[in-house]
């Protein structure tokens, strides 16, 4: 590398050749557009992992298998340590998902799964400061188990000694969550729509 420094490329001033730029940008943009289109069709699963500020997640219905929940806390730059309720769902479908993220002055709103095809997520983990639903149904539930021994969502468990619960299946209607962190191994987002401004219903 130090050899290269001596030769022409390092010493010679250059400039951007716009034709060359177009040749490489055009296929890249085309492929990106195809990917975006396929993702909006729900054909490609995206990977979502957001944290850092509180944001709102709503869905008209959440169905999940392999559910667990426990208490924990996150450290945020703004308000110090914040207790959260951690929910992990091994495999989930969400109808009419809406997620509003506030990034500085801009609110970004992501909606998907509005039609008949719901959003599908695997290994969905949500740190929420509050969670509400108009009704909920759990099957095969255990409440009060040690949070360190939860097994419903593999790879996720709370601190040993903490209070945890888990269920084989879960259904929550009209879910509203204020979350600090959302992450999912895969997220298929049929009918993906990203807009700026506005919030979730």
């Amino acid at each position: 590398m130090s050899g290269n420094r001596q030769v022409s490329d390092m010493a010679i001033v250059g400039r951007v050749r716009w034709k060359r730029l177009a040749i490489v940008i055009a296929p890249a943009v085309a492929i990106a557009a195809i990917l975006i289109g396929l993702t909006a069709e729900g054909a490609i699963a995206a990977n979502v992992s957001v944290s850092g500020q509180q944001f709102l997640v709503t869905a008209t219905q959440l169905n999940g298998t392999g559910f667990e929940q426990f208490g924990s806390d996150v450290t945020s730059s703004g308000s110090g340590t914040q207790p959260v309720i951690v929910s992990g769902i091994g495999s989930a479908t969400l109808n009419s998902l809406c997620q509003a993220v506030k990034a500085g002055p801009i609110t970004m709103r992501l909606t998907a799964g509005q039609g008949n095809t719901p959003v599908q997520a695997t290994n969905l983990i949500v740190d929420a400061s509050s969670l509400a639903g108009s009704s909920a149904e759990f099957h095969g539930i255990t409440i009060g188990q040690d949070a360190g021994t939860l097994t419903a969502t593999p790879g996720t468990a709370g601190a040993s000694g903490g209070f945890g619960e888990q269920a084989a299946t879960i259904t929550i209607k009209n879910l509203v969550q204020h979350t600090w962190l959302t992450t999912a191994g895969t997220f298929t987002l049929p009918g993906l729509h990203l807009s700026f401004g506005g919030s979730c219903p």
């Binding site: 034709k19 060359r20 195809i34 959260v84 949070a147 790879g155 299946t169």
Partner: protein, 463 residues
Amino acid sequence: MPNHKEPSQPFLVWRAAGERPGPYGAWRESWQRWRRTRPFWGGLLLGLGGIELIAIPLTGVLGHGAIRLVIYIGIGGVFGVLIGALMVTCGVLICVNPPHRTFYGIAGILLGILSFPASNLGGFFIGMLLAIAGGGVAFAWTPLPPEPDPPVVIGEPGESWEPDEPTDPGTGGLKGYTYYEEFQAPEGLDEPDELDDAEEPGEPDESGEPGEPEVPGESRAPSGLRYLGLAAVPLVLAASLLGAPGARATAAAPQQGAGSCILLIICLPSPNPSPTPTPSPGPTGTGTGPQPSASPSPGQPGQPGKSRHKGKHRTASGPDLVAATATSVITASSATLDAFVYQGAANVPTADGGTVKMMKFTATSMALSGDVTATVRQRGSTAVTTSPTFDFTGSVVLYATKLSGCLGALCVTLTPGNAVTVLLRLTGGLTGQLTLTLTHVITDQPLVMAGSLQSGRLSLSAG
């Protein structure tokens, strides 16, 4: 970082003769020179895109500590962070090692495209667009041909120079300027008449300049053929990329276990003794009804564990269930219990290796109503769950350290081993036939297992 950009002088850094550089001026000039001798803006954009991709998943998580981070984000999130890190690396290398800018530029573009499915939709498009733009600019950056520099090598540094030919078409001469010795052209010293062609700033070097026969022009792209090849690379790679997620989507459900297994190996010591983490591997999917779950709850309906549980319930120990030690209370205005039977005291293990003595009850159903509140306190924070109704059905098993409630006017508090529980134990056959309704129910350290739980309007909050 000063972003000043001078409009003229496409390839030479001039300085007016009268303007003697102060220390700041020298710094500024060397910075400009450094910037112009490499695809700086491409690298910068690519690096910014990478930082944006990293920032989205990591900003608020760093407080979790590294291990928790890995657990939380999972292998997919690691990919997202990895893509951002690779983009930053490419951006830095583009600036540090410009001869390889083509490779790093295309790699940056591919990473940008890949970040769309892999990392928060390409950092909500921003990181992806920055990477494509930055990689493209780095790829398109070309050193100007070295031939057209004859004036540079004519004099000595610092020497004022009086041109007798119009060598600089832009400024109409070089009078009053000094120049840097760095920008010496190795060849073509004595062809000043070629300058007019070569110095055109907007002229692409492949656009048929007939001159410079003496220099083959290694920096000149030969023809569109090579461009086509370069353009095909992202296409081919993206085609394979498109093929892969399709397979991934179809294999999503079974893959879930496998991916987490990797995670388990990496970061979880698997505290439970029976590591069979396969929630619903069957074809039932999200169907209702009790599923073959990996939960160690012994009292689930339709499971072989139930009969085993019944066989040893007189000894009454929580078989392979670990009770939480955090302080927890469930209160309700009333509880309706079907076939409520006290099964005796049980020593339920806790995570610290000890056991806690709890009462064990069974019921076929347990309906809590009237401001059902579950309060959990741990490590200084409180989580409260409220709902108007909690209906447990299907082989309800309840462990508690203390249970109090009123049966009509008679209010009792049950703890393991007190007189009332002894009485309850004796009359277990009787209460098993009844439907009891308790009011003002308070359950300490509850550990509930049930086939299903139906809740009304549910609200959880942490504070």
